[in-house]
Amino acid sequence: MTERISVQIEMNQSWRYASGAAMERFADGLRQKRIEALRCGGCGRRYLPPRPVCGNCHLHLSEWVPVADQGVVEAWTVVYLPFLDGRTGEIRKGPYGMALIRLDGADTTLNHYLAEADPTRLAVGLRARAVWRDELRGAIDDIRHFEVMR
């Protein structure tokens, strides 16, 4: 076969996204280490992250309820495979823990990092609490990770 050429291109772009009012309020809360959910007046489901409408009832959401920064690990894993972070072009190396945590006061689970990379020390049902960064910018990764409460 004759020569085959490949062309290398790096996608490098930025965008400016509007959050909407609900996410703006949520982000303001994070800057004060406060977590809130939106509760549906129809089915009662308490949603994180905030969104304008309950996807099941189609009702507009407006009732804010407080949520603790700790809760139950409903699912967990330890990731060994490196992951290329598309925001920065940098590689996150394993092992790192991840979990779906149902924070006290919410009905959805939060996908976040766990500060535990030994699978023999992890199980469904453990409790975990947020470890916040020193600098808070109003984003969900203001929580650096969750630590298992032992």
Partner: protein
């Protein structure tokens, strides 16, 4: 609505890298093969559907560059970009177009060049305010859900490994498969490295380059052109909420797949799936998912999936062969993967599945899966 059927299929030989061809050339390979299989010239195609995602290969408007490869110039051409379900959704859209009466012959092509980009990275770039801060791709998401499945139903790594063994061995009979091994064993799977606990390398689907295509025909054309068309008896898709945390006990409950499969079963008169289905091509990105979905699809009751595979029920030669092609575990060019499921199921009914043909297959189930819990389901049959 009028009946419509699949009358031809085509696939590339899926591989880790096809850097000998550009994206449109890859599409052309599959499209040409499907048209040849259907006995049609490109000029006889009325509409084309392309299945592929922008962010997976990092180039805008896939259908712009590759449409020509799919013979789309000056024809109606649409793109469907729905993650893993792109392939099955594209086939269902093609069915809708032919069944509507507006088009007689629809060509559907799905493709992916995994080797050119960073699919896991690209697909994690969803909601900019939430998802991007915490991501580990499809692998991490599945590993999370699997911990719940194991905790609640006691499925074991050995049972999951049997799915990988079935896949590799079946794939040895499939010339299009990327990964194949006629001698694969459970020990091989359990010795492969852990990617994300408890998912091992051989539990997980590969990242493949490949394309697949089908030709859907209206009833009138199908009867003239094909001796054994694969009729679309039922087809539906289900969308879901935006965040993984919205979906409780995802693998265990997947209401989208449950609803979609119940819907197509009802339409096609399937009351006992194990008995009435002759073959199933389901979209299983990881071994544990295939087991969880045996339960959701009604092949067995809750907690019995491990038993089902241990008893060989889903092997070629068992009561309901699942993924005789080798499934997603043996080839995963994402935009094409759903089309491959449809093409493989259709091939069974068309009688063109070669070494992995299930004798006398008359009724087939197809499922598609994408992102967190998007689900597609189809029933193909030998009668209109």
């Amino acid at each position: 609505m009028r009946p419509a059927a699949i009358i031809g299929t085509g696939q590339t030989d899926h591989a880790k890298s096809r850097d000998d061809v550009s994206q449109p050339e890859l599409v052309r390979e599959a499209a040409s093969r499907a048209l040849a299989d259907a006995g049609l010239r490109p000029s006889e195609v009325d509409a084309i559907i392309i299945g592929n995602m922008e962010m997976f290969e990092g180039r805008a408007l896939p259908e712009l560059w590759v449409g020509e490869g799919g013979f789309a110039n000056r024809k109606p051409c649409l793109k469907i970009a729905t993650g893993g379900t792109s392939g099955t959704s594209s086939c269902i859209a093609g069915f809708h177009q032919a069944a509507s009466g507006v088009f007689d012959i629809v060509l559907v092509v799905g493709f992916e060049k995994h080797s050119e980009g960073q699919t896991q990275t690209g697909m994690a770039l969803t909601d900019p305010f939430w998802d991007r801060g915490v991501a580990s791709g499809a692998l991490g998401n599945f590993a999370l859900s699997i911990s719940q499945y194991m905790a609640e139903r006691g499925v074991t790594p050995e049972q999951a490994a049997r799915v990988a063994v079935k896949s590799r061995r079946n794939a040895a009979k499939n010339p299009h498969a990327h990964l194949k091994d006629a001698n694969a064993t459970v020990a091989d799977v359990l010795a492969s490295k852990v990617l994300a606990h408890p998912v091992r390398l051989m539990d997980m689907c590969p990242q493949s380059d490949g394309a697949a295509a089908i030709v859907v025909a209206s009833a009138e054309r199908a009867k003239k052109l094909c001796s054994r068309p694969a009729w679309v008896k039922a087809a539906t898709t289900r969308h879901e909420q935006p965040y993984i945390g919205d979906i409780d006990r995802r693998l265990l409950s997947m209401r989208t797949l449950r609803d979609a499969s119940r819907s197509v079963y009802a339409t096609a008169g399937i009351r006992e799936p194990l008995k009435q289905l002759d073959v199933a091509e389901i979209y299983e990105p990881v071994t544990y998912a295939e087991l969880a979905w045996y339960e959701i699809l009604g092949f067995c009751s809750e907690g019995q999936a491990g038993r089902l595979i241990e008893d060989g029920v889903t092997e070629i030669g068992g009561e309901l062969p699942v993924n005789p092609s080798g499934g997603v575990l043996c080839a995963n060019p994402v935009g094409a993967t759903g089309v491959i499921r449809v093409a493989e199921a259709a091939s069974q009914i068309l009688g063109r599945a070669g070494a992995h043909q299930i004798e006398g297959a008359k009724t087939a189930l197809v499922t598609g899966y994408g992102v967190y819990a998007w689900a597609d389901a189809m029933i193909l049959g030998s009668e209109p």
